[in-house]
């Protein structure tokens, strides 16, 4: 083992860097999905669409800002603006006019409704942005690269990916934890998550909590998409692949667990990059191997607590 580390320790270090950067984006999307499920108890398939639309919006706003001659740092504002605009418009609209009508329905029907919404939003993306890949590399170019020493040479990394993305993810995690545990609004959300009936009986307006939580989840997903726009090309179908991975994170983390989502995203991100480095054939299945392994040992997820089923 010691010999293996001697030979491959530096490679493992590189894989960790890649894994952390990748985990940051996975976390941003999955935590929103997890939060929404925790409060609304609706598994929202259209969450992947918020990611995609956030990315497309970021690229459009960023390219527009560049075209009108705004300073390069404005491209960072474009990412944030895209997330807020996407989440603040789509979130309330969907919660108020669609989801609110199916809260009392079977979960299968809820799933079908959000799946239908996902399909509609996929077509909407094609109508607005077309089918050719869209990207916006401004922020990556602006931040440049950092050289990591390796075997007498250097490996250049995008500062955007290895510094900015993890910092944003950490701030999101810390901010969410603080909000949910230290503020009244956050405690209200937690109360609704733990026992909707009791919270409502205490005078909490559950409908308002649902609206705010869903909108916030949509903003987080859109922020994930916006943050991915500078490094990836957005194409039709990107929302579908995102939602599949997000479901894996949510199931592994435990439904409604934000710290669990962070840890799971980290495990998946690092697991994938370690696989690429040492056993590339496993890369595609790593997220699901992790999910299966965790669920075999803890069916309620890493941070989930077993719930008593009401009959």
């Amino acid at each position: 083992m010691g010999e293996w580390f001697e030979q491959n320790g530096a490679l493992l270090g590189l894989a960790l860097l890649d894994g952390i950067a990748s985990a940051a984006l996975i976390f941003m999307v999955a935590v929103g999905l997890n939060l929404v499920f925790g409060v609304l108890r609706v598994l929202n398939v259209a969450h992947g669409s918020f990611f995609a639309i956030g990315g497309y919006m970021a690229a459009s706003i960023g390219l527009l800002m560049t075209a009108v001659g705004l300073p390069p740092w404005a491209s960072f504002a474009a990412l944030l603006l895209a997330a807020v605009v996407t989440g603040a418009i789509l979130g309330p609209l969907i919660e108020r006019f669609l989801l609110r009508r199916v809260y009392a329905e079977e979960s299968v029907l809820q799933l079908l409704v959000t799946f239908a919404l996902f399909m509609i939003l996929e077509d909407l993306q094609k109508i607005v942005w077309g089918v050719q890949p869209v990207s916006f590399g401004g922020p990556v170019a602006l931040m440049g690269t950092v050289d990591v020493p390796f075997a007498g040479d250097v490996i250049p990394y995008n500062a955007y990916q290895v510094i900015l993305l993890p910092v944003v993810a950490l701030l999101t995690l810390g901010g969410l934890a603080w909000f949910l545990r230290r503020t009244l609004a956050g405690r209200v959300i937690v109360a609704v998550t733990l026992d909707r009936e009791a919270a409502t009986a205490m005078g909490i307006d559950a409908g308002r909590v649902f609206l705010l939580t869903f909108t916030f989840g949509a903003v987080l997903a859109a922020l994930g998409g916006a943050l991915s726009a500078p490094t990836a090309s957005l194409v039709p179908g990107v929302g579908a692949s995102t939602i599949v991975l997000s479901f894996a994170v949510v199931a592994t983390a435990g439904l409604g667990q934000i710290e669990g989502a962070a840890l799971t995203a980290l495990m998946i991100g690092i697991g994938r990059s370690v696989a690429v480095t040492f056993e590339p054939e496993l890369e595609v299945v790593v997220p699901y191997l992790i999910m299966v392994a965790v669920l075999l040992l803890r069916p309620q997820g890493l941070f989930g607590v077993p719930e008593t089923r009401r009959i």
Binding site: L14, L25, K126, S228, S233, V238, V276
Partner: protein, 441 residues
């Protein structure tokens, strides 16, 4: 314009009685009445990641159909298009194929982008006895493993599409000793690597394959792959990826200076050049899945190429990419086949079986070359490969040192399977690579 003549009363009666009295199996051979419109079913990706090719293909089809109809149609018959989305999967596609043939009574099918779709559609073409032109899919297996009377392909297949860039690399960068592959994890990514690896092992044994990476189809991050390649420093990086995957891979490789360390071979990058712009630096090998590009160095019909490019750009605000040319080839093959079959039928409109009989040996024009469909149904199409270069006229890289590979030199003859043929190759294959041609203008 094909020569046409109106159907005679006797012909019409014969056709009518034939269709009523003959069993279904024989009615396809009866003389056909000239239809009021020629219905063409087209399967293409209208959703999902492959719509980056499927929608330009549809756009080209609509543009060409309008042009053909303005000129009076095919053989004097206006054409009408029916599109089917390949996105939902094979089961949906097969059902829609049947529906178009049996319910909509389409006259011809053009299928498909995905090789999996084509593998499913060709047996259907035989079963339904409906002429089906494979307009874009790549798998070489179809005509190597099966024999079809109603299915034909109007473009090349995976074998020449992989042989051409490999021979180009061996000719122009013969000293490479190590190679890494980064292909999408699905049939094309795996199959194209199998063809490349088999040919490379024969033509340049001893090349060290330092990494075989198959990231998830539709991946949006290649950071770990780029890191691995930066650490391994292969002389050559091969990627047959396309669409958003290829754009992202190029973007992340450029940002992290991987292009400075390795020579890239990107056989499908023609379709990404306009989007990635100057991120793709000079000196890397790119291909176009055929003999077509808007700056083709010696098109057979320069005016036709210019017209096609100008019309497409005016209408869709983008340069045409390879699926649009493949669609143009399919339409050209169809026109030529109807003309040939009509002439062979004494000027009368051909039946399905007569139309099918026109394809073996058929010659037809693309904007850049004259193509021929072999006896096995597979078209012979040259392959254009070049090296990226900067040109102030364009905000994206162009191809320089372009080589147009004659099709006979890069694919097996009729009756031989690709991998068997590859094993017979010798170093002569490299020495026979034509000299490069500079871009026009």
């Amino acid at each position: 314009m094909p020569v046409t003549s109106p159907l005679t009363r006797r012909g019409a009666l014969a056709a009518g009685f034939g269709s009523v009295l003959l069993p279904a199996g024989l009615s396809a051979q009866a003389p056909a009445a000239k239809p009021s419109e020629l219905k063409i079913g087209i399967t293409t990706f209208l959703s999902g990641p492959a719509s980056v090719f499927g929608v330009p293909g549809r756009n080209a089809a609509e543009m060409l159909a309008e042009e053909i109809n303005r000129e009076g149609g095919i053989g004097g018959v206006p054409i009408r298009l029916f599109f089917v989305d390949e996105g939902p999967g094979i089961d949906h596609l097969v059902g829609e194929f049947r529906r178009l043939v049996q319910n909509e009574k389409v006259d011809v099918m053009l299928a498909s982008i995905s090789s999996g779709s084509c593998l499913a559609c060709t047996p259907l073409a035989e079963e339904l006895r409906k002429v089906t032109l494979l307009w874009d899919c790549g798998t070489q297996r179809i005509f190597e493993e099966g024999s079809y009377k109603y299915a034909f392909r109007s473009q090349a297949n995976s074998t020449p599409e992989m042989m051409a860039p490999l021979l180009y690399l061996l000719k122009h960068k013969p000293d490479f000793r190590s190679l890494a592959v980064v292909n999408q994890d699905y049939a094309w990514g795996r199959d194209s690597w199998e063809l490349w690896k088999a040919a490379m092992d024969v033509l340049k044994p001893g090349v060290r394959v330092v990494a075989e990476l198959f990231p998830r189809f539709g991946a949006t991050d290649f950071s770990a792959e780029v890191t691995r390649l930066l650490a391994l420093r292969p002389d050559v990086v091969l990627s047959t990826s396309w669409g958003g995957d290829l754009d992202t891979f190029i973007r992340q490789s450029a940002e992290r200076r991987l292009f400075e360390r390795s020579t890239f071979v990107l056989p499908l990058a023609e379709s990404s050049l306009e989007r990635v712009g100057r991120l793709l630096p000079p000196g890397h090998i790119v291909g176009s899945r055929g003999d077509h590009w808007h700056q083709h160095p010696r098109p057979a019909d320069p005016a036709a190429l210019q017209r096609f490019v100008a019309n497409y750009r005016r209408r869709f605000n983008a340069y045409p990419i390879y699926p649009t040319y493949h669609m143009a080839q399919a339409f050209s093959a169809l026109r030529a086949a109807y003309a040939k079959a009509t002439a062979a039928n004494g000027g009368n409109w051909p039946s399905d079986v007569q139309l099918a009989g026109a394809f073996p040996g058929l010659e037809f024009d693309s904007p850049t070359a004259r193509l021929r469909i072999r006896e096995d149904g597979q078209a012979l199409e040259p392959q254009l490969i070049g090296t990226t270069a900067q040109d102030d006229r364009f905000p994206f890289p162009i191809m320089d040192r372009m080589v147009v590979f004659p099709p006979e030199t890069i694919m097996p003859p009729v009756g031989q399977k690709s991998l068997d043929w590859i094993r017979t190759l010798t170093a002569d294959a490299v020495s026979r690579v034509p000299d490069p041609v500079r871009p026009a203008g």
